[in-house]
C-alpha cells in the first residue's frame, strides 16, 4: 500500500460459508499490513481492509462453515448470548466499568445483547430492538430502524470496546403482498479469521427473530432478505499467519490448501446436522449443558433459552 489508503473490498456471495471463504481470501491477498496492539512483537503485522460483505441468502444451506474457533455447542451458547442475553450477568457493575483500564474486575464490560436490548442512557434503559420492531411494523420503509452499541462515556476508556456498532433494518415489498426484511450490520473492528463467522450466525439469528416478530405484528408474510456486513477494519491477525500459511517443511498444510483439499460440502455443515449439537454437543457445551452449568443465569433469560431448546427438540426450529 504505497498510497497509505486502506483497501475497500466488496464480497458478494449467496451463502454465509461462501462469503466467509471469499472474504478471507480477499483480505489475505489485498489487505494492507498494519501492526495492531494485539500483535506480539514476534508476529508479522496484521492484514486489514474495509470490507463490505453481501450475503444474498443468509439462510440457504449449507449455513455453517466448519472453520471457526469453537465447537458447535459453543456456537449455540454464543447465539443465546447475543439473542437472549445469556451472559449479560457476566458484565461487571457500572462503577467498575467507569474505572476503565484501572479496573481489576475481569468480568466483561458489555455484551451485544445488553447494548442492543438494554442500552443505558442517562437514567433510562432502552430496548432498541423492540423499537426497531415497532417502527418497522408501523412503517416498513423507514430509514430509522436501527440499534447502536457504542457508549461514548463507557467505551473509549476500556481495553475492550464493542466491535459491532450498529444494526439497521428495513422492509421492502416482495411483490406478492408480503415483505422482505433486509438487515445491515456495521462493525468498527473485526477478527475475520476467528470471529466473523460466529458473529454472523448470531446476528442473522437475530435478523430472523426480528422478522418473525414483525410478521406477527403485521399479520403479513415477512421473508428474510439479504444480509450486509460492513466492517471498517476487518483483519487477519499476524498471530494467525502460521495457521494460514502452514509449514510445508513440517507437512503442515496452509489454510487454503486445507480448503482446496475438500469439496465445499466437506468443509460445511447444514442446519440439520448442526441442530443436535446446538442442543448438546456431548463435550459440555450447547443449550442443555449451558442451562445445567450456569446456575446464576437470571430466570427470565433461562426461560427464553428453555423455550428455544423445546423448539429445537420438537424439530420446530432451524438453527
Amino acid at each position: 500500500m504505497e498510497s497509505g489508503n486502506i483497501p475497500v473490498l466488496i464480497v458478494n456471495e449467496d451463502t454465509i460459508p461462501r462469503a466467509y471463504e471469499k472474504a478471507i481470501r480477499e483480505v489475505w491477498e489485498k489487505g494492507v499490513s498494519v501492526r495492531t496492539e494485539y500483535d506480539r512483537p514476534e508476529d508479522p503485522p496484521s492484514k486489514d481492509a474495509t470490507v463490505v460483505i453481501i450475503v444474498r441468502e443468509p439462510f440457504s444451506q449449507p449455513r455453517f462453515h466448519r472453520s471457526f474457533a469453537d465447537g458447535l455447542g459453543g456456537l449455540a451458547e454464543y447465539v443465546m448470548e447475543v439473542v437472549h442475553g445469556a451472559h449479560d450477568y457476566w458484565v461487571k457493575p457500572m462503577e467498575e466499568i467507569l474505572k476503565g483500564t484501572k479496573s481489576k474486575d475481569t468480568r466483561w464490560t458489555y455484551t451485544y445483547h445488553g447494548r442492543l436490548f438494554e442500552y443505558r442512557i442517562e437514567d433510562q434503559v432502552i430496548n432498541q430492538i423492540s423499537l426497531m420492531i415497532d417502527r418497522l411494523s408501523r412503517a416498513g420503509h423507514t430509514r430509522r430502524a436501527q440499534a447502536i452499541t457504542w457508549n461514548p462515556k463507557l467505551d473509549p476508556p476500556t481495553d475492550d470496546p464493542p466491535c459491532l456498532q450498529r444494526v439497521w433494518g428495513r422492509l421492502c415489498d416482495n411483490g406478492t403482498g408480503g415483505y422482505v426484511f433486509n438487515m445491515n450490520t456495521h462493525w468498527r473492528s473485526r477478527d475475520l479469521f476467528k470471529a466473523w463467522f460466529e458473529n454472523v450466525i448470531a446476528l442473522t439469528t437475530l435478523m430472523r427473530k426480528v422478522a418473525e416478530e414483525i410478521s406477527k405484528r403485521m399479520q403479513k408474510q415477512v421473508q428474510l432478505g439479504r444480509y450486509v456486513d460492513i466492517s471498517d477494519s476487518l483483519h487477519i491477525y499476524g498471530s494467525y499467519f502460521r495457521e494460514i500459511e502452514g509449514d510445508p517443511e513440517k507437512g503442515v498444510k496452509s489454510f487454503f490448501e486445507k480448503l482446496e483439499s475438500r469439496s465445499f460440502k466437506e468443509r460445511t455443515w447444514d442446519s440439520d446436522f448442526v441442530k443436535p449439537y446446538f442442543i448438546d454437543d456431548g463435550v459440555g457445551k450447547g443449550l442443555k449443558p449451558m442451562l445445567e452449568r450456569e446456575k446464576e443465569m437470571p430466570e427470565k433469560v433461562r426461560k427464553a433459552i428453555e423455550k428455544e431448546l423445546r423448539l429445537m427438540e420438537k424439530d420446530d426450529y432451524e438453527v
Binding site: 483439499s261 449439537y277 457445551k285
Partner: protein, 211 residues
C-alpha cells in the same frame, strides 16, 4: 480387526450413532473393552488429532469427533472399571479464576482424553482452592491451566504457589497455555511446560509423564 478400524473411522467422522452400534457389535463378538478403547476409540481420536496438528481439519470437527468418542466411552466405562484398565494418567484442567474463556481448554481436554488420559475438567473461572482439591482428591499427575487474558494469566502463579505450600508441587506436573502465555512466562512462574496449541499440549503431557 476390521470392526475396530471401523470404530476408529466413525469416531473420526463424528458419527456417534454408528459408533454406538459398532461398539455393541464388537462387545457381542467378545472383543474386550480395553481393545475397543485403545484400538478403536483412541485410534479414531489420534487420527483427528494428527489431522488437526497438520492443519488438515477444523476445530469443530475435533469436537464432533470427541462427542462420538465420549458416547462410545460411556458404553465401555463400566467394563473398563471391571477389568481395572488404567488410563495414561490423570490431568486436572481449568481456566484460571477471573477468566471465562474455555474454548482452548476444552479442545486440549478433548484431545488429552482422545489420547487415553483421564481428564478432570474444573471448568472456567477456577479458583486455586478448586485446583488444589481436584489434585488432592483425584491424585492427579498433571495440572493444566489456561488463560486468555494478560490480567488473568498472573493467577497461574498463585495456583503453583498453593501447590507448593501444600507440598504437592513435586507430585504433579504443571502445564500452561492460552493466547498471552509464552514459554518464558512458564519458566518465570515455575511451570513445567508451555504448549502453544492443543496438539502440543498432548505431546507435552506425554513427554512430562514419561520423563
Amino acid at each position: 480387526m476390521e470392526i475396530l478400524k471401523d470404530i476408529a473411522d466413525e469416531v473420526e467422522q463424528g458419527h456417534s450413532d454408528t459408533v454406538k452400534e459398532l461398539i455393541k457389535r464388537a462387545l457381542s463378538q467378545e472383543i474386550s473393552a480395553e481393545e475397543i478403547l485403545y484400538k478403536g476409540l483412541v485410534v479414531g481420536m489420534d487420527i483427528i488429532s494428527e489431522k488437526f496438528k497438520n492443519n488438515e481439519c477444523f476445530i469443530p470437527e475435533v469436537l464432533v469427533a470427541a462427542k462420538s468418542m465420549n458416547i462410545g466411552l460411556e458404553i465401555i466405562k463400566p467394563l473398563l472399571a471391571e477389568a481395572n484398565v488404567k488410563s495414561q494418567g490423570k490431568v486436572v484442567m481449568g481456566t484460571v479464576k477471573g477468566d471465562l474463556h474455555d474454548i482452548g481448554k476444552n479442545i486440549v481436554a478433548m484431545m488429552l482424553q482422545g489420547a487415553g488420559f483421564e481428564v478432570i475438567d474444573c471448568g472456567a473461572d477456577v479458583p486455586k482452592e478448586k485446583f488444589l482439591d481436584a489434585v488432592k482428591n483425584e491424585q492427579a499427575d498433571v495440572v493444566g491451566m489456561s488463560a486468555l487474558l494478560t490480567t488473568t494469566m498472573l493467577y497461574m502463579k498463585e495456583v503453583i504457589e498453593v501447590l507448593k505450600n501444600e507440598g504437592l508441587r513435586q507430585k504433579v506436573k504443571v502445564i500452561i497455555g492460552g493466547a498471552p502465555v509464552t514459554e518464558s512466562y512458564a519458566k518465570t512462574i515455575g511451570a513445567d511446560g508451555y504448549a502453544p496449541d492443543a496438539a502440543s499440549a498432548v505431546d507435552l503431557t506425554k513427554r512430562l509423564l514419561n520423563s
